[in-house]
């Protein structure tokens, strides 16, 4: 199976000017620092982590909303890292994004139909049978009533708006969808509906997903493989099965241990790993292994040297000096 997306040592740094014209105290936020990631065709890769880990930045850099600082982005075998906007344009229809906030990501002044229509207009696509029919089809496919094509976003609920966002992303028949926290802002019972929809669409349209989320339960359900990030770096990468049953990185273990399970008896018996301290600021990441300040196993080498990536099995790798 070919890889639809490959990220090689991808880095995205943001410079902050801490100071004015006279004091050039520039800070650098290493939002993404040397990330390696692949998404195969038809696969769903879950990208998880907490605030400041860089997962959203990865998502946006992949579709080139941000220009990468270093590293490579290879899409369908093509190195698009340095592509200008005009060169990216024809590729944009093949990679689409779904956003987190269904209330903010739809233009409130446009009807649903015209929101999706603009996707066609920008890429000069004239669907067979007319765009209105195609839009109707899209709405139906995401579980909405095609007769609502002329309604405005505020007339829909959160879950429905997210479906509209999905319809818009599907309009140009993409190959890769980067979903940035697509269900976090939704109610629990609606989350399940949208997750199911994404699952169905993937099967039907042979889509690949880069699924960015902080909710491990959802990621576990939908992903084939999972990548765990912390402060801009990849901590561990494995198949879903492996990661959740056999996590080898202390951070992954702590993360999993922190996720509450809706089962009182299990919860009462559980051994919790409670991490001490706070997430360090991405402006000032710890030296050596970025996780060392909160890791219960940290020793001197962790504080001085960043760990190399260990390949434990063909699909399971991690960056740690003392794997579990």
């Amino acid at each position: 199976m070919a890889n639809i997306l490959e990220l090689e040592n991808l880095s995205k740094y943001f410079t902050t000017t801490g100071g004015g014209a006279f004091s050039r105290r520039k800070g650098v936020v290493k939002a993404v620092d040397g990330v390696n990631l692949t998404v195969a065709e038809g696969e769903t890769v879950g990208l998880v982590g907490e605030s400041g880990c860089g997962k959203t930045t990865v998502g946006r850099t992949v579709i080139k909303l941000y220009e990468p600082t270093a590293g490579k982005i290879i899409f369908e075998g093509e190195d698009i890292t340095k592509y200008s906007r005009s060169k990216m344009k024809p590729l944009r229809s093949k990679m689409q994004m779904i956003f987190q906030d269904p209330f903010a990501s739809l233009n409130p002044r446009k009807t649903v139909g015209s929101i999706i229509q603009s996707a066609f207009d920008i890429h000069d696509v004239k669907p067979v049978g007319g765009s209105e029919k195609e839009i109707g089809n899209l709405l139906e496919r995401v579980g909405l009533n095609p007769e609502h094509i002329n309604r405005f976003p505020h007339e829909f609920s959160g879950g429905q708006r997210q479906r509209i966002g999905i319809a818009r992303a599907l309009a140009l028949k993409p190959k890769l969808i980067v979903a940035d926290e697509p269900v976090s802002a939704l109610d629990v019972s609606i989350q399940a509906q949208v997750v199911n929809l994404l699952d169905d669409l993937q099967e039907e349209l042979k889509l690949s997903y880069l699924f960015i989320a902080h909710d491990l339960s959802v990621v576990q359900h939908i992903s084939d493989r999972v990548v765990v990030m912390y402060l801009g770096k990849v901590m561990e990468e494995a198949t879903t099965q492996d990661l959740f049953t056999n996590p080898r990185h202390p951070y992954t273990k702590a993360l999993l241990s922190a996720v509450p399970i809706p089962d009182p008896i299990i919860e009462r018996k559980r051994e919790r790993i409670i991490l001490k301290g706070d997430l360090p600021s991405p402006m000032n990441p710890p030296s050596g292994c970025v996780f060392n300040t909160r890791c219960w196993k940290a020793t001197d080498i962790c504080r001085t040297t960043a760990p190399q990536v260990l390949q434990i099995s063909p699909k399971h790798s991690l960056a740690c000096h003392f794997p579990e």
Binding site: E50, S51, S157, G158, G159, Q160, D187, V188, S189, I190, Q191, A192, Q193, V195, N196, D199, H214, L216, S217, V218, Q220, H221, T240, Q241, F244, T245, A254, L255, L256, S257, A258, V259, P260, I261, P262, D263, P264, I265, I266, E267, R272, I274, L275, D278, L279
Partner: protein, 340 residues
């Protein structure tokens, strides 16, 4: 001993140009000290409205509130609904405290953390400003913020999300309240921070024998901390029982649906989630009969149009286990098994 909090038949409605929004209808429950009651619901279920009503924080002019909310203190009992604003105000921050969801926007950006905690303390305690700061420093230390003496002078934006929530907890605990109402206290936090905060709340509860009323939509958190659970839907309590009962022997289709629709980290499910179809009803035009009927998978097992015609009452289906459904608990459990 009487329960600390007795809510009887609480109803909250808002008149709007489009009609009367019945945000909460006939809510009844009790809470004892040292106990944790979780109110679970999604948006529009009425859980936050109920919370605010307990603290008397609704705008009395614009809200129709009925029923009673009895706070049973050692020396007297106060009904929040029928008392004056002044009487209720004396409860806030002293007998009952509240923690909110978003600690960044819930703390005043212009005052230092110490000032805000000190203010909360000085409402009910005679003391100078420096006494207040001393007390604030103690509290900040108690909730596990390192370097308390220095941090007490800092401002909310200088703290991280988890630390801010600790500050809120410190502020809520400063007058040794008997009840803490926590409104989605961990929703805005990272999961590793969430577990720290939950641990903190439990430690505080043990130390001060407080009652905790936890409002959330996160069924994982509920399983972790709750003794009893109320499930709310469309403004009504649809199920109420001890925590184990709710999770292992749910007696209401909505509860069953919720539990089956959430993915779990410890269960690798390859198949689809059992999602509840449809959406919650509008609170202005509540349907006749059961509010959950149009989304209910088990409706077909009820004879005739009972579900859509007659709204079921909250009945005791098993020992201390109440549910609002025309089907019996046993029937629901069988159907739930089959649906899995």
């Amino acid at each position: 001993m009487k329960p600390f909090l007795e809510v009887k038949d609480l109803s909250v409605a808002f008149p709007t140009p489009d009609g009367l929004v019945k945000a909460a209808d006939g809510i009844s429950f009790e809470l004892n000290q040292g106990e944790t009651l979780a109110i679970v619901g999604e948006s529009g279920s009425g859980k936050s409205v109920t919370n605010l009503a307990i603290m008397g924080l609704h705008n009395r002019a614009k809200t129709q509130i009925s029923g009673s909310v009895n706070i049973n203190l050692p020396d007297r009992s106060i009904d929040v609904i029928s008392s004056t604003e002044d009487e209720v105000r004396k409860l806030r921050g002293s007998a009952i405290s509240m923690i909110f969801q978003d600690p960044m926007s819930s703390l005043h950006p212009y005052y230092s953390v110490g000032d805000q905690i000190s203010e909360a303390w000085r409402i009910y305690n005679k003391g100078s400003k420096s006494d207040g700061i001393k007390r604030a420093t103690e509290m900040i230390d108690l909730v596990g913020i390192p370097d308390a003496a220095k941090r007490v002078r800092e401002f909310p934006h200088q703290f991280s999300g988890g630390m801010r929530q600790r500050v809120m907890i410190a502020m809520a605990l400063v007058n040794n309240p008997k009840l803490i109402i926590a409104d989605e206290p961990t929703t805005a936090l990272d999961v590793t921070v969430q577990s720290q905060i939950i641990q903190l709340l439990r430690d505080m509860q043990k130390e001060f024998n407080m009652a905790i009323l936890l409002v959330t939509h996160d069924l994982g958190v509920v399983a972790e901390v709750a003794d009893r659970v109320c499930v709310m839907y469309a403004g009504k309590i649809v199920e109420q029982a001890k925590v184990d009962e709710i999770y292992y022997r749910p007696a209401q289709p909505y509860t069953v649906g919720l539990l089956q629709s959430i993915p779990r980290v410890d269960q690798l499910q390859g198949k689809r989630l059992n999602a509840i179809q449809g959406q919650p009803p509008s609170l202005i035009n509540l349907p006749k009969g059961c509010s959950f009927a149009e989304r209910c998978e088990f409706k077909k097992h009820v004879a005739g149009n009972l579900c859509t015609e007659v709204a079921p009452a909250l009945e005791e289906k098993a020992d201390q286990h109440f549910a609002r459904c025309h089907l019996s608990a046993a029937q629901i459990q069988d159907l739930a098994m089959a649906a899995k």
